[in-house]
């Protein structure tokens, strides 16, 4: 751990959201992750930062990629990773979130990774436990590790973030990824655009520091980065969007529309994708897509986050939780 001491301390016990983090907090985390990319890519080097530490993954919402990403990140750092199966546990039997938190806390874990369908669930849990809590998505609130891995991907592909034009397209209203990214990318100095029908934009979006577009072609014009968001199937027909056909016409990304963006524009997607709904396969699998890189950076970023949280704890440098 001593070798990490040259990084500024990440001054929080938990990572609950991007909102509240300063530019330097974010850059510290990105720098840590960036430095370990080459190490991480060597499979045989297993690090021992989390040796004998216990990481509990508590996923109240089904997730394959995020949970696996956290699990692999933890294992690569030497942690004992426990996945709490929420489906058949006492949670289903009516135990409250706070009871679950107290029970887990009594088992003295070091890191708790939580995903929950209610906004604020991670913060609620964090108030009740003594270990570090990482928010892996709470309702429509935040998904900070996704925003960080997105920033890492952009920085590694483009070299910098300041001044880039980044278009976030799709269901902004229900998206925690969008909220975390809007805050994070604005803090890092990007020009953030949102592209969505008004029914899928939250109230007050005009005060969130973004430029608003209601059609994808002007929205991605001269963009450096396009982030597509998943549109949930149940929201495609009915009050939010009349039909898949209409949605793809105005908001779906295909090769033709992609030409409006800068030539070296990259295309991102937090997954899982709806091919043919928000993104065509040709774009998703095309040369401008960095979707697989995002997945790879996901593991590295999460390793860096856990390391940073533990490091600041070990160095007794705890600040307030955020």
């Amino acid at each position: 751990m001593t070798k990490n001491n040259h990084y500024p301390i990440f001054p929080y016990r938990h990572l609950l959201g991007m909102r509240g983090l300063s530019k330097s907090d974010i850059i510290t985390l990105l720098d840590r992750a960036n430095a370990s990319v080459s190490v991480s890519q060597q499979k045989d080097v297993k690090r021992s930062v989390l040796y004998n530490r216990i990481q509990i993954n508590l996923f109240f919402e089904v997730s394959t990629r995020t949970q696996s990403s956290f699990e692999i990140a933890g294992r690569r750092l030497g942690a004992n990773v426990v996945n709490m199966p929420v489906d058949n546990s006492s949670v289903k039997k009516g135990e409250t979130l706070i009871d679950t938190a107290m029970t887990l806390n009594a088992m003295d874990p070091d890191i708790l990774v939580i995903r929950h369908s209610s906004a604020g669930a991670a913060a609620l849990l964090a108030r009740k436990v003594s270990c570090s809590v990482i928010n892996a998505g709470d309702g429509a609130h935040e998904h900070p590790t996704q925003a960080l891995l997105d920033a890492l991907t952009i920085r590694r592909t483009k070299g910098y973030i300041q001044g880039l034009t980044i278009a976030i397209c799709g269901d902004i209203l229900h998206s925690r990824v969008a909220r975390s990214n809007i805050f994070s990318l604005n803090t890092l100095g990007a020009n953030v655009r949102v592209v969505a029908p008004s029914t899928l934009l939250p109230t007050g979006i005009e005060d969130m520091g973004v430029e608003i577009f209601h059609s994808i072609e002007p929205g991605i014009k001269d963009a450096d980065v396009i982030m597509m968001l998943r549109l949930q199937r149940e929201r495609m027909t009915g009050v939010f969007v009349p039909s898949v056909r209409e949605y793809f016409h105005f908001f779906g990304l295909d090769c033709e529309k992609l030409k409006k963006a800068k030539k070296d524009c990259i295309v991102m997607h937090p997954g899982p994708m709806n091919r043919g709904v928000e993104i065509s396969s040709a774009v998703a699998d095309g040369p401008q897509s960095v979707i697989q890189t995002q997945v790879e950076m996901g593991v590295i970023m999460r390793m860096a986050i856990m390391e940073a949280l533990l490091d600041s704890r070990n160095r007794n440098a705890l600040g307030d939780k955020i």
Partner: protein, 437 residues
């Protein structure tokens, strides 16, 4: 009971447009006299004389919106009445949202009987507008009013069917009974949990637009104009609702409105990081709305202040914000919180007492809200200056979720009397030379 004389009191009695230093004489549970001229009337034989040294005396507060879980659970009539007297409230109107719903004469009689036997204060039931509060068939307005229901209300619910509302208004008019209605359009509220706006959006919470309140309110006001019923909007929370009410009052005499103390003192930023104690219905709005509610109170567009006392089990609040229940305890902090408006020079003291006591008593025709000779000696003695901090464990409610936890207030109830009997006292001995003749 010995007569009681309160000397050197600042008597605030809006029913007689009075705010003066004087003397209050109480005997046999009634006010004998109260005012400056009472100084000359001598002290009755055997009276207990208290020198209030300038502390204030108001008619006891009348809270027109209190949720009690009895029959049912949560707060009981007794625990609510303890909370009431600690806050200077001597009469309250109990909402019909109980289990079972207060929608028949037998239940009204039961509540009144229970309250008379065990409550420290006067409890007046409001009966449900529709059977089972299902929004379909109207209740027995005539029989209910005969046994003592003081108003008809759907409690926390809103009648969505305009024709049901129209017929209820017409029928209530025949019995000259007020309809007290909270307006929240169910579809527009949707799964909203706080005020719609930037703050809700950052928090990832579904918002409740202001229009959810004003659209059914405007419908009701049009129907009130059509029917001529006494219509009381139970709780307004937005500037646009105030505008609607002002327009209605320009052309109608029999419409009135209330505001909860929470919406006069707090705004949406108090929700902070998912603080479920601040989850209320209607939700806390933005600062502009709060200021509009204060102006409306000062200008008489909003008539009364209510506590909307609705304590929830702690378990219902220890949840993620979207899963928690609406509501907070409010009886005990009602007066102290309202006095903040006086100390900040936003609302004159007489206007506050009018909205907390005289006006609600008048609107719902309760024998309360005045200190005129012959009235029931329901009153509250208040130290207007005493600073204190609200601690949850000092609250008398069964469930101790307050929006004013750890809040510093200036002004506190010293003594509450119901029918001349001291039902609450906090430091009465310290304030005056208790002397007997």
């Amino acid at each position: 009971m010995k007569p009681i004389v309160l000397q050197n009191a600042r008597i605030v009695d809006p029913s007689r447009d009075m705010d003066e230093i004087g003397c209050v004489v109480i005997a046999a549970g009634k006010i004998i006299t109260a005012g400056n001229n009472a100084h000359n009337q001598g002290i009755p034989d055997g009276a207990t004389v208290l020198n209030l040294r300038g502390h204030a005396v108001f008619p006891g507060l009348v809270d027109a919106r209190v949720f009690v879980g009895e029959p049912g659970h949560h707060e009981t009539i007794v625990s609510a009445s303890y909370a009431a007297v600690a806050g200077g409230v001597t009469s309250f109107i109990m909402m019909p949202d109980t289990k079972p719903v207060i929608d028949n004469a037998a239940l009204v009689e039961y509540v009144l009987r229970m309250a008379k036997e065990i409550a420290l204060v006067n409890v007046h039931p409001a009966a449900a507008l529709t059977k089972g509060m299902a929004g379909q068939e109207i209740t027995d307005f005539g029989l209910l009013s005969k046994v003592g229901a003081v108003a008809f209300s759907e409690g926390k619910k809103t009648i969505s069917n305009a024709n049901t509302m129209r017929l209820a208004m017409i029928y209530a008019r025949d019995f000259d009974m007020p309809i007290m209605h909270e307006t929240q359009d169910t579809a527009l509220v949707g799964n909203g949990v706080m005020n719609a706006g930037l703050m809700a959006s950052w928090l990832g919470l579904s918002g409740i637009p202001r229009e959810a309140e004003v659209i059914p309110l405007e419908r009701d006001l049009r129907l009130a104009a059509l029917t001529g019923v006494h219509y009381h909007a139970a709780q307004l929370s937005t500037a646009m609702s105030v505008e609607a009410m002002q327009r209605a009052k320009d052309s109608m005499d029999k419409v009135s409105a209330g505001v909860s103390i929470n919406h006069l003192i707090l705004n949406e930023t108090d929700v902070g990081e998912y603080r479920t104690f601040f989850r209320l219905s209607p939700p806390l709005r933005v600062e502009e709305d709060r200021l509009a509610m204060i102006s409306a109170l000062r200008d008489g567009i909003v008539d009364i202040i209510v506590s909307s006392h609705d304590p929830q089990d702690i378990d219902a609040k220890s949840l993620p914000f979207a899963d928690a229940k609406d509501g907070a305890a409010g009886l005990e902090t009602l007066l102290a919180a309202a006095l903040r408006l006086y100390h900040e020079n936003l609302v004159p003291l007489k206007t506050l007492v009018q909205a907390l006591s005289t006006k609600p008593a008048k609107l719902f025709r309760l024998d309360a809200g005045t200190l005129k000779p012959g009235a029931n000696a329901d009153l509250v003695i208040v130290n207007l200056e005493n600073p204190w901090v609200v601690e949850l464990d000092m609250l008398h409610s069964h469930s101790k979720n307050s929006t004013f936890e750890k809040t510093s207030f200036q002004g506190r109830v010293i003594t509450t009397m119901v029918a001349g009997k001291t039902v609450y006292s906090c430091g009465l001995k310290e304030i005056g030379n208790v002397s007997k003749r």
